[in-house]
Symmetry: C2
Subunit: 207 residues, 2 copies
């Protein structure tokens, strides 16, 4: 894994915000535009809800960091003084649901009409294929932030679009995502009840 450069620091600002905000979110507002919440916040809250209610064990993996220099002050915690972000070799979320292995990545775009494939990288796509090959459940959760539309999209389709990039198309049209994917509505507890969709798509007896 190489060092990864977040050019504008966006990711980190989000990560730090998450910590402070969790207790001060107004509980009656459930649209993204009013809440200023990120997709990651909502998935973490939903996974926490699933964990506490005994529905599933799904966690976000820690951000991969290459640690270069650590100081060990006497009588206080070790301080990492130099470290770099690394490109993840897998997806961000995984766990177990009804005995099955579940694995997914969550991404947002400001684009209104299509989802740019540059949100993913080759390693992740390969990982998704490997999960499918080993009988795991592999999908992405895609959010169009302008309209607050969120979809669960099976990785088989994503991989297909990824492979078709050489033919020129660098994004997935929103119409295809809404047609082949499944809309996730924003609720209160859990905020994103994506396991409801997982039940229908991956555990339905008709499939």
């Amino acid at each position: 894994m190489g060092t990864f450069h977040y050019p504008n620091g966006k990711k980190i600002v989000t990560a730090l915000k998450t910590k402070k905000k969790s207790s001060s979110v107004p509980k009656n507002e459930i649209s993204y535009s009013n809440r200023g919440m990120s997709l990651e916040d909502d998935l973490n809250q939903s996974n926490q809800y699933y964990l506490l209610t005994g529905k599933a064990v799904i966690h976000k993996k820690p951000t991969p960091v290459q640690i270069v220099n650590v100081e060990y002050p006497k009588r206080s915690a070790a301080v990492i003084k130099e470290a770099y972000f690394k490109l993840a070799s897998t997806t961000d979320y995984n766990g177990v649901y009804k005995g099955r292995y579940i694995d997914f990545e969550a991404k947002e775009t400001k684009n209104k009409t299509s989802f740019p494939l540059k949100n993913f990288h080759e390693h992740q796509i390969n990982h998704m294929q490997q999960i499918i090959d080993h009988g795991g459940i592999s999908f992405v959760i895609l959010r169009f932030s302008a309209d607050d539309d969120i979809y669960l999209f099976d990785c088989r389709y994503l991989i297909q679009y990824w492979n078709e990039q050489k033919e020129g198309r660098k994004s997935i049209p929103k119409g295809e995502i809404s047609e082949k994917g499944h809309s996730i509505t924003i609720g209160y507890q859990p905020r994103l009840n994506y396991l409801d969709i997982v039940d229908r798509v991956y555990f339905s007896p008709s499939l």
Copy 2:
């Protein structure tokens, strides 16, 4: 998750070593004492082997770090200037094997006669119980470094010993581990063929 203090910096030294060493390890020496390899090195190599040979998709999670301060120098990678280790809320390794969810933690002790339970913490034990409850495969890989003895030990037993701590015993006798667990021999490719044991323990038709 709280900040975690590694008092002697051991963990980090190991993590950095891993990166540099992977290509310079002598290939014909397979005992720990000669190799100076860690259990983590060997598991990473074994998981890499399983991945490349299409046997399983199992990865070590990144070390959880709380990032406090990041600098964004022009024309070069973002540098984390202040961060702290966090206590992991789950186990270190997970993935999918033959469609099943696999989850484990790996620990070493210098103790010759028993494995101290202080190598685990409450959050991890709870996580292991949750994995079992949801139909996943949950075990620990325990290494007695003095004698190079490595065992796969089902988490049901570990949880039992954990709960019995209040009766006074703070460690698991090695005899119990060798009796209820399964010895993993050190080989070349993969170095620790623990999936061979997983096959026998969790996929055997007689169980």
